[in-house]
């Protein structure tokens, strides 16, 4: 994903908040979005837009599923009088490299219940995660690697 994608997203958002879907509205949104982006972005990357759309949908579905399922776990722990949680700090080795990838991954990690991104290490090699139910550290890492991160990288790298 790059600036153009972002710009398109903004164009669509414009249509969304306007509540009317027309070419004119999209163009207006795109232009406005362009101005806004040029005001807020530090760098701009080259245009590289492929077939990430489908991957994005897959990611979204997977993500929502994860959220719903594991949410219930957390809610359970919260609502029951005993504390099942076994908190731990996990250093998760990153494959994601770009700012955007890292950010999205970190966000998703945070949104999946049970894990919360604390930070990214200075050298960008690790995501530092606070896990609530971390009986098996390796399993947690493995699940993320094959689940979220793989799908995410499919979206961002095509």
């Amino acid at each position: 994903m790059n600036l153009l994608t972002l710009n398109i997203v903004l164009g669509v958002s414009w249509m969304l908040i306007n509540g009317s879907f027309s070419i004119f509205n999209f163009i207006v949104g795109f232009v406005v979005g362009f101005v806004c982006l040029s005001l807020t972005q530090a760098t701009s990357g080259p245009l590289n837009y492929g077939r990430q759309g489908w991957a994005a949908v897959k990611l979204l579905i997977y993500f929502l599923k994860e959220v719903v399922i594991t949410s219930i776990k957390v809610v359970w722990d919260v609502l029951t009088p005993t504390h099942l949680s076994e908190p731990d700090i996990i250093y998760y080795p990153l494959d994601a490299k770009s700012d955007l990838e890292i950010m999205l991954l970190a966000n998703m990690v945070s949104m999946t219940p049970g894990s919360l991104t604390l930070d990214v290490s200075e050298d960008r090699a690790y995501l530092i995660i606070h896990a609530m139910f971390a009986r098996d550290k390796a399993a947690v890492i493995e699940e993320l690697k094959n689940g979220l991160e793989k799908r995410l990288l499919e979206v961002t790298r095509g």
């Binding site: 969304l16 919260v78 908190p87 700090i89 250093y91 945070s110 949104m111 999946t112 604390l118």
Partner: protein, 129 residues
Amino acid sequence: MSTVTEWVLSILLLTGGVFLLAGSIGLVRLQDIYMRLHAPTKASTLGIGLVLLVSAIYATLTNDGISISELLVTVFLFFTAPITAHMMAKTALHQRLHRLERTQNQDLFENARLRLSPDAELDDTVSKP
């Protein structure tokens, strides 16, 4: 609007309410700031997501046009909630806030605070709390 839809909407709404309440209960009940961060970030966000979903569906059904602009709020909340949580966690680390004794790998907190890799040796200048 059919009764079934109304039922579905009601259930969704109630679920949302439960999540919202759960998030807030978690905020009260959980024992350290790191764990307290989990609850509102996830449960409350999910809850508000459901409420917004109901609102969107309801608006779509009652008004003539489709009203999915609520989705924008949802997306926004899902996007920003983890970032807020991250910032708070970072703050907590920075301030070396009280952490639950049960937490494993306690020594990694200091590494995390300084954003160092797990195997990094902390020099003497960095005093552990």
